[in-house]
Amino acid sequence: MSADRAIDNTAPPRLPDVIAGFRRRAEAGGLLDVAYTAMDSPIGPLLLAATEAGLVAVAFSGNHDDTLNELAVRLSPRILEAPGRLDAVRRELDAYFEGKLRDFSVPLDWSLVGTFSRRVLDRTARIPYGAVSSYGDVARSIGTPRGARAVGNALGSNPIPIVVPCHRVTRTGGTLGGYGGGLDRKTYLLTLEGALQRRD
């Protein structure tokens, strides 16, 4: 806005730099309610989303836009692609897929989970790496012995799969039961953890 402007020889600002600066300022100003990023994994691309409280959603490939729209409605539309907030989650997931990490320690945000589902998922989170429980076991252990179906529903709507290991719940009798990410992924995860025999 001065006479210097007539000899403005500086390079034009690059859009990615300008956006990165905006993102930093949004986060510093407490305006970034939900940060997300995508990462590759052996079971396909994953979408990771976190609030300031912690990891709030993990989604498998194929529905990232749907997931973001849903997060906009259920949490806040102040959603930005901001990988920095998810660095720790990505590191833990990478280590998990390399077989080097058995227990996740990143903070979780449970705000998408209702009261009953929370009980189910808390119980599920205590199933050790390499082990499985049945839907009935989980139902009994949270005091609803006839609630196996409700448990199945709660697991099916787990917003933080892998990290909250709903894949460790299988049918009595050895069949796998369902999985929100598809049975191939459930098989992969249980095989990785050694709960299933590797079939070559």
Binding site: M1, P13, L15, V18, R25, Y36, E70, I79
Partner: protein, 165 residues
């Protein structure tokens, strides 16, 4: 991922994730700001624009014209920047040709012509056609009357037509 149904009434229902506004409109907003304030100030104005938008976003009711909404904020930030520089709330006379990018690539030749117009006409034409502002709006931004705004646009267009022949 299927999420359980929420019990509370979500705020901002129906608004797309803010990232979509960046993906769709950041480019246009940045080029607009470069044209209006130059390379050095455009970055800061851009960030101020999107921070203000992000702050207000959950309360936004009308999502029909998000680009127009962002450009309105951007224009206000330009006005603020000018005011900060102890200037009248209108555009600089010193827009250099190198930094003034046209708002749309398709209109490159026309906007090159626009840049050669006298300041008042150039600003009025830019506000009218790059931003689709009303004459009342243009008058407010340029601290003039709607009639003067209309005249500036009219004179600018006349010159452009003449120049093209």
């Amino acid at each position: 991922m299927t999420m359980p149904a929420g019990e509370h009434r979500p705020r901002g229902a129906g608004l797309p994730p803010f990232q979509a506004l960046l993906d769709d409109h950041a480019d246009v907003v940045l080029r607009f700001l470069i044209a209006r304030v130059g390379h050095v100030e455009a970055e800061d104005c851009f960030q101020e624009t999107f921070l203000a938008a992000l702050r207000a976003y959950p309360r936004l009711r009308d999502t029909a014209n998000l680009r127009g909404w962002l450009l309105t904020i951007a224009r206000n930030k330009v006005t603020d920047a000018h005011r900060d520089a102890q200037r009248r709330p209108m555009l600089s006379d010193e827009l250099d040709t190198a930094s003034a990018a046209p708002p749309e690539p398709a209109g490159r030749e026309v906007w090159d012509e626009v840049k050669r117009l006298p300041a008042k006409q150039r600003n009025a034409v830019a506000l009218r056609f790059a931003e689709d502002r009303s004459y009342d709006d243009i008058a407010r931004t340029m601290a003039t009357t709607p009639e003067a705004a209309r005249r500036n646009v009219h004179e600018g267009i006349k010159k452009l037509r003449r120049g093209q022949r």
